[in-house]
């Protein structure tokens, strides 16, 4: 879906950006112009971003902690 129609930015682009380390709307705007024209996509973009960051967080928490334990050993 086109989250930001003015700049042609899709939900996939936003998720990919989050995977690449983007964590804020400010960064999304700087990188892709999301929300910089009419502004009507801001809340939708924020939703997509925070939802994806939350799922990522959850996934990391579910990962086995073995590698870290090895570090401490």
């Amino acid at each position: 879906m086109y989250v930001c129609l003015c700049k042609g930015v899709t939900d996939k682009t936003i998720r990919q950006a989050a995977d690449d380390g983007v964590t804020s709307m400010r960064e999304l705007r700087a990188l892709y112009g999301v929300g910089s024209q009419c502004g009507s996509c801001t809340s939708c973009a924020r939703e997509v971003l925070s939802e994806h960051l939350a799922t990522r967080q959850q996934k990391f928490q579910q990962l086995p902690t073995l590698p870290i334990a090895v570090c401490y050993a």
């Binding site: 879906m1 899709t10 009507s40 996509c41």
Partner: protein
């Protein structure tokens, strides 16, 4: 006499709320229609185009009703468009928007009823009927898509029905 034909504030607010959704839907369905056409799915183009025209007719009726009730139709505000990238997503997003429209129209009907504005209620009821028809068509497409598989379904949409 003229006081009788002044709409109550809640009714005018509801009519404008529905109007904003109509103005938004006109654009969403129209862009989807021409995207379908550009992809080569003429049958889908036809339906989405017609849906867009219906939204415009509803917007027209709402504008006239609001003016009659001495309100100011708000043609400035526009909601966010939900534009898909491929046919399945486009159908899903239209269904989502149409369902939300229907819920807004239903609650607006309740407000008109309470304000004893039976003419506005009647107008919204007529709009609601058409909206339900289109939602039904959209949901049927999504069901067909699931049953036939995407490529079989889309193949049936290449030529005009």
């Amino acid at each position: 006499m003229s006081a009788l034909l002044t709409g109550s504030a809640p009714v005018l607010a509801e009519l404008n709320r529905v109007l904003t959704r109509k103005l938004t839907a006109i654009n969403q369905y129209f862009l989807h229609a021409r995207m379908y056409r550009n992809f080569g799915f003429e049958a889908l183009n036809k339906h989405a185009y017609k849906a867009s025209i219906y939204e415009m007719k509803h917007a027209d009726a709402l504008i006239e009703r609001i003016l009659l009730l001495k309100g100011l139709p708000n043609l400035q505000e526009l909601g966010k468009l939900f534009i898909g990238e491929e046919p399945e997503e486009m159908l899903q997003l239209d269904a989502k928007v149409q369902l939300a429209d229907i819920q807004v129209i239903r609650s607006a009907i309740g407000v008109c009823e309470q304000a004893q504005d039976y003419v506005s209620r009647e107008l919204l009821s007529e709009i609601l009927e058409q909206q339900e028809d289109y939602l039904d068509w959209l949901q049927t497409q999504l069901d067909l898509l699931k049953q036939l598989g995407q490529s079989n379904y889309l193949q049936s949409k290449i030529h005009q029905e």
